[in-house]
């Protein structure tokens, strides 16, 4: 077991990251947007990373639901980014052929956003 100074330092870091995640979570739930999705995803990933780095110095916390949330935010983000990248790279002669994919990506993004909102009801930040 690491000494008290390390435990105190680690808990301070977790507390800051947990606070940032809670804030991003409530902002996203209030009004979802691409920026707020990005913040939610980033703060969730930071929280997961800090638990992986400092596992031995902080109280145990299950990362299962946080990981699930990160996967879902990844689905929404991937779909949005792919749609944007396809639009940018699209050859004008292939516009018609790309319609189905663009629609599918939009659907995928919406579905993932709805799942995120549901998943957030079950994800809580750890108490530090």
């Amino acid at each position: 077991m690491p000494d008290d100074r390390i435990a105190e330092w680690a808990q301070g870091l977790v507390k800051a990251d947990a606070h940032a995640f809670k804030r991003a979570r409530s902002r996203f739930l209030r009004q979802p947007s691409a920026k707020r999705l990005h913040d939610l995803r980033t703060t969730a990933r930071r929280l997961r990373c800090i638990h992986e780095d400092l596992r031995e110095a902080i109280p145990p916390f299950s990362l299962k639901r946080l990981r699930r949330l990160i996967d879902l935010t990844g689905d929404a983000r991937d779909a949005a980014v792919m749609r944007e990248a396809l639009r940018n790279a699209l050859d004008v002669r292939e516009r018609h052929a790309a319609r189905a994919l663009l629609r599918a990506l939009r659907r995928r993004e919406r579905l993932a956003l709805a799942r995120i909102a549901r998943a957030l009801e079950h994800v809580k930040a750890p108490k530090a």
Partner: protein
């Protein structure tokens, strides 16, 4: 790719704990960096995740060790280039076969992102370059600046 365990059981103080974390995370990056030479999608994705883990760890510690700031910033740029590449790989997988010309453009963007990532990595090890502070802090990475990292 699962994060490697960091043993803090007998670490003596915060500085030592942070150094141990940085060593494990930097070692993960160095192990995966041959992906830049091979250019394979899955390996590059794993490298990006490892860069992100290392960057997050360094950013937590920059208030105590400002010399790590440049490395964190370079890792962020590297992560962006690898992220662009990954996005293009995903798009290419999803694109139907009749989008030839568009797919060609996406492939060119992917190649650009890979070239950028390679240059960012190579340049990071230059004398007084962005990884100087990180190498001193961890004692790892010497020999990568002469091309050992990407061949």
């Amino acid at each position: 790719m699962k994060a490697r365990h960091v043993d803090l059981s007998d670490s003596c103080g915060v500085d030592d704990a942070m150094r141990r974390i940085a060593i494990v995370r930097f070692a993960e990056v160095l192990t995966l960096v041959p992906a830049l030479r091979r250019g394979r999608s899955k390996e590059l994705h794993d490298l990006r995740i490892a860069c992100k883990r290392l960057r997050y760890a360094l950013e937590r510690y920059t208030p105590r060790e400002p010399a790590l700031l440049e490395a964190a910033s370079r890792l962020s740029q590297l992560q962006d280039a690898l992220g662009e590449l990954h996005d293009r790989d995903l798009l290419l997988l999803a694109m139907p076969k009749d989008l030839h010309a568009s797919a060609q453009r996406v492939r060119m963007q992917r190649d650009d992102a890979l070239s950028r990532a390679r240059a960012l990595w190579r340049d990071a090890f230059a004398p007084y370059g962005p990884f100087e502070g990180l190498m001193r802090f961890t004692g790892l990475g010497y020999g990568f600046g002469d091309g050992g990292g990407t061949g």
